[in-house]
């Protein structure tokens, strides 16, 4: 599978360095290695979801408990989470670190992903969710750390978009 194991490991190592101890996820192709790494790590709690919006509640519970968490989802999962983001995370000032695989952009071969690609950034902006990109190996660690720092200081959802350039090897 041409999903980058090396770069998935780099992302995972950073999550560990950021003291993330709970990750909620719904499988998607680009996230397979990240989910396996989480599942195999006895220090990490992996919560496999039925739908991504659940992760907003789970991360809120973790935050109340003093545990740092992250959400792994495809951009369509982000679309499916929006009510939870607005009516829980925004309303109650809950920090969320959202790692979103950015499907449906340049290079996308799956026709079914393409609409989601078009609307992801406009929706993030409409929701005033700060976001940045994981697109280069050199900046992965810094970007994730910065996203977590901002989420914790501002008590709001922050997104990093996992791009094809980083996640896919072909």
């Amino acid at each position: 599978m041409p999903v980058s194991l090396t770069n998935s490991k780099l992302i995972y190592e950073t999550l560990k360095e950021c003291d993330i101890r709970l990750v909620s996820a719904l499988p998607e192709t680009w996230l397979v290695h990240l989910i396996h790494l989480t599942d195999e790590d006895p220090e990490m709690t992996l919560v496999r979801l039925a739908k991504e919006e659940e992760a907003v509640g789970i991360s809120a519970g973790a935050h109340f408990a003093g545990v740092k968490s992250a959400m792994l989802m495809q951009n369509h999962g982000f679309l499916a989470s929006i009510n939870g983001i607005v009516s829980f995370a925004h309303l109650y000032k809950i920090p969320l670190l959202m790692l979103i695989s950015y499907r449906g952009t340049f290079g996308e071969r799956d026709p079914w992903q393409t609409q989601g690609g078009n609307v992801t950034e406009p929706l993030l902006r409409a929701l005033s969710i700060p976001y940045s990109f994981l697109d280069q190996v050199e900046t992965v660690k810094k970007r994730i750390r910065q996203a977590q720092t901002l989420a914790e200081s501002s008590l709001q959802p922050v997104a990093v978009l996992l791009t094809r350039d980083l996640m896919w090897e072909e």
């Binding site: 519970g61 935050h63 003093g66 309303l91």
Partner: protein, 190 residues
């Protein structure tokens, strides 16, 4: 059976638990019995009270977590039953007040009024212990058993579709949220 009577019957049990409620009548009625720092009222985000309880229960295995859910909220997020069942934290108690109605928004009937069986769905989703209660006495027994028990329990409490005249309390949402988190942090330090 009145929801308020059910809540009153277990109010003393709640002192040692972390409590998460849904919005509307459930939040207003629990608040009316006397707010405590260990109560969090999720005043929107229908469906996510149980997910919040799951996050709490997984992160704080030594604490008992009680979620007061409702039929309308649970029907919006039935997947939560399969996720809770997957991890089945033994310290989580999931109470569903089923009044067969979306009471807060005009009393329109939910699907439980036409035969949808939440206990059956919970059991089929894999919740280890699921039961339905129709009297305050049975409610109290079921909640106490679940609090002191050793398996994830969903209790469906059939209640009348009546509630308070208003739902807004004098507790601001953010005050509640920060107080709740601070309370939990104080437990962790103790």
């Amino acid at each position: 059976m009145l929801r308020l009577d059910c809540l009153r019957s277990v109010y003393s049990e709640l002192e040692s638990c972390l409590v998460v409620t849904i919005m509307g009548a459930v939040a207003a009625e629990l608040h009316s019995l006397g707010h405590r720092a260990n109560f969090f009222y999720l005043q929107h985000a229908m469906g996510l009270a149980s997910s919040t309880g799951l996050g709490l229960a997984l992160c704080l295995p030594e604490q008992t977590v009680i979620v007061f859910d409702g039929d309308g909220s649970l029907l919006m997020n039935l997947g939560t039953l399969s996720t809770m069942a997957r991890y089945r934290p033994r310290n989580l108690v999931h109470v569903v007040f089923d009044n067969e109605s979306l009471l807060s928004v005009g009393g329109f009937p939910t699907a439980t009024s036409t035969g949808t069986d939440l206990e059956g769905i919970a059991r089929a989703a894999g919740i280890p212990h699921a039961l339905t209660v129709r009297s305050v006495e049975n409610f109290r027994t079921a909640v106490c058993d679940a609090v002191h028990g050793i398996e994830l329990t969903t209790i469906v409490a059939k209640v009348e579709a009546t509630g308070p005249s208003g739902y807004i309390t004098d507790l601001s949402l953010l005050e509640n949220r920060f107080q709740f988190r601070r309370h939990i942090q104080s437990l962790r330090k103790a």
